[in-house]
């Protein structure tokens, strides 16, 4: 009679006795892993583009053009502000931490309200760490602004930048 099983023992016992030689696999791993470690990139870099305001750049616009009021996000250790031309739209007090989440919501709200998402100026006070400036530039870009300019903020938020 033809049996389905070639072995006299049940299949479970045959599997228990199997001893796979993994040494060749280990050899492949030992060659492959140093190669992959050398080619791995653990930190991904990116770039953030920004423009300079006209007073810092080498090219100055036509003086006969009427200046267009621009939206400015002001960063200071005392408060964060959203300014349109010379008019303060929002002011957020800075506590132990910078209120970036609230600022993000306010910027989005102003973009929707003004229907203006062309250009924004990020104006920072001199003593602000650069990481906060980059964070605010990110928030502006996430709010939909196509161009982000970088400038220095004055003590008076309404003053011309």
């Amino acid at each position: 009679m033809l049996s389905l099983f070639r072995f006299s023992r049940p299949p479970s016992q045959i599997v228990d006795n199997a001893d796979v030689d993994v040494t060749p696999v280990m050899n492949v791993f030992i060659i492959l892993i140093p190669f992959l470690v050398s080619m791995a990139v653990f930190t991904h870099h990116a770039i953030v583009e920004f423009s300079l305001p006209p007073d810092l750049g080498t090219s100055v616009g036509d003086a006969s053009e009427k200046p267009v009021p621009r939206l400015t996000v002001r960063i200071g250790t005392d408060y964060l502000g959203i300014v349109l031309g010379e008019r303060m739209l929002d002011s957020l007090a800075v506590g132990p931490e910078f209120p970036f989440d609230t600022l993000s919501a306010r910027i989005r709200m102003r973009v929707a309200e003004l229907g203006y998402d062309d250009e924004v100026i990020v104006a920072s006070r001199d003593n602000i760490p650069f990481k906060h400036v980059v964070r605010v530039m990110d928030l502006c870009r996430q709010a939909g602004f196509k161009k982000v300019g970088l400038s220095s903020a004055t003590a008076d938020p309404g003053a011309a930048l």
């Binding site: 992959l36 770039i47 003593n127 990110d138």
Partner: protein
């Protein structure tokens, strides 16, 4: 005849180490390394004592002229141009030594992409230092500025 090698006799003194757990570790490691594998490599290498700011930007870095602002010094092409402390304490926006160096650098790359400058700045550096470097470089002929950041995952 069996395909699998015969098990050694019980009285055999040969010790065969169990490699199964090691293979498990290697497999996990292999998957992780394949995931972080990059055929391009890294186009830019920041200075060792530089901690870059984190950003959500996904724009890939370009190979351009660059200037590094570390906690100690302003460096360009491995040459220390100014100390960061002296940069912050000075009143003038124009930093003469940086201006001279960047002017030569700008003349060297006269094509359109040569007007782009990558600023590699430490995340804790005060904005005043960045402002002075930007002003000085814009006077030297650089018009487009790019900030190198670490991409937020």
């Amino acid at each position: 005849m069996s395909i699998l090698p015969q098990k050694s006799a019980p009285n055999d003194d040969t010790v065969r180490p169990q490699l199964t757990s090691l293979v498990d570790v290697m497999t996990i490691l292999l998957v992780f390394l394949i995931k972080s594998f990059s055929s391009e490599g890294s186009l830019v290498t920041p200075a060792a004592d530089l901690v870059l700011p984190v950003s959500t930007s996904e724009e890939t870095p370009r190979v351009r002229s660059s200037i590094e602002i570390t906690k100690k010094a302003v460096i360009c092409e491995g040459r220390v141009l100014a100390g960061t402390d002296s940069l912050l304490s000075g009143d003038s926006l124009l930093v003469p030594r940086v201006y001279e160096w960047m002017k030569v650098m700008r003349q060297r790359s006269s094509d359109s992409s040569g007007s782009e400058l990558v600023i590699q700045c430490d995340r804790e550096i005060q904005f005043a230092a960045v402002k002075k470097i930007m002003y000085t470089c814009s006077k030297a002929g650089f018009t487009d500025f790019l900030v190198l950041v670490v991409r937020e995952e």
